[in-house]
Symmetry: C2
Subunit: 352 residues, 2 copies
């Protein structure tokens, strides 16, 4: 067992890396592929979780960010900048910190609780709040690169998707073949596009002999791709995919269509129930992650899963990112009794 | 690159595993060893972080728990039980969930905010709150195994330390040798004991040619080993090591003495400052984890670090476990300005 040295070294030949690209890493990638006994039984197939929550900052974003920040350094940037309040800003801040350059985060003033930014802040991000909305914040971020020596690491940065391909490589490496089907949450639609690119890259170099059906699942209240139009006010419990106007809509639909897959939505109740189901097998994922499993169950109920398929459900982030959802979802009152041995033994016996 | 299959498979020959031990895993272990440029520069040595926060439940406890629960299954137990409100209960609940058996948690009624238990609860733990104190809860847990088919997975379970040895193995495997010095937080004193056992096991089988100096660091307000007596009311910001009467005190002192290491305490201010220092390199650890780095800096200031030593600082848990500390520690108000391009550009320029 060789020690894992991170994505830029582990998948060097598959990424746009030059001799001048610094070997930046926080040991991202190499995340677990965990067999799910119960889901496999339930749908009559071989189901795995790709648990991206064990990336350094707790989400899949680290795969693209490590490459985006490394290329920024290679190109002489003095800072990275993004408009984000969630996983993207946390990841950008961590890799900027690791590189010794500042990370700048632009947010709309008054719309974001500072607690959401705690992770980015502890890594040292510098935050600018503008009196405007999120779209304006993003627009200022885009334009900033015209005036300042900074690199935008929002999803318009092309290296993000290049880096995110590596999750597909890891799945194929672990299974020694591509899975038959990939189930994946869809928010901004970049990740499904990146996986597809990765599966196709491996296939075209004969590393695998087949391609998976790409099955993307949006939250019902943010189902822009399913409905074929932007959702002005997206709403869902799964905050990480609460996106009404996916940046990579076109690429995502191409992945679904080329692969013979499907795009569908799942309800918040289905997501919540899948969130608990995943935890009940010992894997704690962010609510948005559960859209992949909720989607698989919906496909199964529709009779669309074949016997003995190999299926990978992508769990995009760590449940520890969102402790409030865990508290709300699992709110059970403990049984309270006196400190008396007979009573305690009886109570414990009943709990078995 | 072979895919990591977890500790029971990865270190099978080094653990008390039989043919009947189930191959339980959530892909624990195989955690990053991250070189710290800045700490290395500052102390004039080669300093690494062993980042245990990327274990499945976010702490080093998973290493011992996977073995403890696997052995419980092997021995026919119907449940696991512990008195804990933190990392131990989270880990026990996850592996019990994975195994399909209940996890029972006994806590003193009224002393524990339910939020602290959120992680264990989402994994499906069943909680009994007794009208008594923590020591009574632990005593009931110990006695429960006399009456019921349950296995206690508190630190009295001997497989916990056996499993925790694997972190020492991984460090030696990654460095192709033992480090010169290990810096590690000390709370219940089990982890330092387990690492020492692991380093000695590798040394005795000629996997390494030397042994590290074991340097353990308690929080000042919970420094039972340093002061040589139990602390009735331990207090520290680093809650995971707020323990006044370490269960493995004897083994820990043996590790320190046999290895020519040191046991010392660090102040909450030193821990807080180290917590930020670690994050400023892109690694987000629990406050208690930072005791190892605070301790290294204290040794350095005392002139006790030699040039070019190889030093590993153990970061025991993920910072996402304790978002409140991150919010409090990094509480900076963002700069607020109007949505005007010239102003935004000027503000960003000043932030570079």
């Amino acid at each position: 067992m060789q020690t894992w040295q991170g994505l830029l070294q582990g998948y060097r030949d598959w990424l746009p890396i030059t001799e001048k690209t610094p070997n930046l890493t926080l040991c991202e990638g190499n995340t677990p592929l965990i067999y799910s006994d119960r889901l496999s039984d339930r749908v009559g197939a071989n189901v795995y979780f790709k648990y991206e929550g064990l990336n350094p900052t707790g989400s899949f974003k680290d795969r693209g960010m490590v490459l985006a920040v490394a290329k920024a350094l290679e190109e002489g940037s003095k800072a990275v900048i993004c408009a984000s309040t969630g996983n993207t800003s946390a990841s950008a801040a961590a890799y900027a910190a690791r590189s010794g350059i500042p990370s700048l985060i632009v947010i709309p003033h008054g719309y974001v609780a500072l607690g959401k930014l705690a992770q980015a802040l502890i890594y040292g991000a510098r935050v600018l709040a503008i009196r405007g909305n999120f779209d304006q914040a993003l627009e200022f971020v885009r334009r900033s690169a015209e005036h300042l020596p900074v690199t935008v690491v929002n999803s318009i940065n092309p290296y993000r998707l290049e880096g995110q391909q590596t999750a597909a490589f890891e799945i194929c490496d672990a299974l020694s073949e591509a899975p038959d089907r990939l189930c994946i949450p869809v928010g901004n639609a970049g990740n499904i596009s990146a996986y597809w690119k990765g599966f196709k890259a491996y296939y075209s170099k004969q590393k695998t002999s087949s391609l998976p059906k790409m099955c993307g699942f949006e939250a019902e209240g943010a189902a822009a791709l399913v409905k074929g139009q932007a959702i002005p006010h997206p709403e869902t419990f799964a905050t990480a995919i609460r996106i009404g106007n996916p940046a990579s809509a076109h690429l995502a639909m191409q992945a679904v269509n080329e692969s013979g897959g499907t795009i569908d939505f799942v309800t918040d109740d289905e997501i919540r129930s899948a969130y608990q189901l995943i935890a009940s097998e010992g894997v704690f994922a962010e609510p948005a992650s559960a859209a992949s499993v909720a989607g698989l169950l919906k496909l199964h109920e529709g009779g669309r899963i074949s016997r003995d398929e190999t299926i990978v459900c992508v769990l995009t982030g760590n449940g520890l990112k969102d402790p409030d959802s865990a508290v709300k979802t699992s709110a059970v009152e403990p049984l309270v009794i006196d400190a008396d041995e007979a009573q305690v033994t009886m109570a414990l016996e009943r709990m078995l």
